[in-house]
């Protein structure tokens, strides 16, 4: 039988929302306070959902130790206590939480093969969150 498993993780990072394709005035109009040149930070909560057949010998979709290991190595160690704008993937891409969700989804899709990656959900604050499920619609 197929089950879906979700794990939550936390990291803190700073960013500045600023597009080189917009004028200074347009950046301020679009991003408001988020365009402050010195940046600002968030405590992000990352939810990773994977799915697959429950292995009868273990009762598991995948071993959580493996999932935790990949998320820690590939995502948390890269983004925790970082300035997102200084990272290579955000040199040309605005580090909105939408774009960060897509980036994390793609990192995990490349790095985690033990179960199907359903979606990534990223809470920027308690009041807003973003989801990316690749080409498929996230399931609620």
């Amino acid at each position: 039988m197929k089950a879906h498993l979700t794990r939550r993780y936390r990291f803190s990072a700073s960013h500045r929302l600023h597009s080189e394709q917009m004028s200074a005035q347009e950046n301020r109009a679009t991003y408001g306070k988020c365009n402050n040149p010195f940046g600002h930070g968030h405590n992000y909560v990352l939810e990773v959902t994977v799915s697959g057949q429950v292995d009868p010998s273990t009762g598991m979709v995948c071993n959580l130790v493996d999932l935790d290991g990949v998320v820690e190595r590939e995502v948390l160690s890269r983004y925790d206590l970082s300035n997102l704008n200084g990272l290579q993937e955000f040199a040309q891409v605005v580090p909105t939480t939408e774009n960060l969700s897509i980036e994390i989804f793609e990192i995990l899709q490349r790095g985690f093969a033990q179960a199907h990656l359903d979606r990534v959900r990223l809470e920027e604050t308690m009041m807003n969150s973003f989801e990316y499920a690749g080409e498929s619609e996230p399931r609620h």
Partner: protein
């Protein structure tokens, strides 16, 4: 179609062990969860049902009835129990969060009136949960 979710909490203990594995393999696969004396969690259960809103009552499902079914079929059997030893499903299946979600689904599926079961979500901790949608 409207979806309605009811939450409940229960506390239980469990451990992970496959009798077909060697002691070393059990420890390697299940880690600390293999301790035979078990350990406990405060579980949160979310049961989501779906259906059309009855024009006379405005309900998808009678919430009181849903609550009673959840209590009778799940909480009475699992709250303050050692899942491996006291819940029959787990004499042959390992009581992981995934298998708990499946067991709750199987206990509720035929007991609901009107509304259909959409999803069973079981939180083992606030940072770990399993969803089951009845998929084979």
């Amino acid at each position: 179609m409207v979806y309605l979710t009811r939450k409940a909490e229960f506390s239980a203990s469990h451990y992970y062990h496959n009798p077909d594995f060697s002691p070393e393999e059990n420890r390697r696969v299940f880690g600390k969860c293999n301790n035979p004396n078990g350990h406990g969690h405060n579980y949160t259960l979310e049961v989501t049902v779906k259906g059309e809103v009855d024009p006379r009552s405005g309900f998808v499902v009678d919430l009181k009835q849903l609550k009673e079914v959840m209590h009778r079929e799940v909480l009475d059997a699992m709250d303050h129990r050692f899942l491996n030893k006291e819940v029959p499903e787990f004499s042959t299946r390992i009581p992981t969060t995934e298998n708990l979600a499946i067991a709750v689904w199987q206990r509720l599926e035929t007991k609901l009136q009107k509304a259909r079961l959409h999803r069973v979500r079981v939180y083992e901790t606030p940072d770990l949960f399993a969803d089951f949608y009845g998929e084979q």
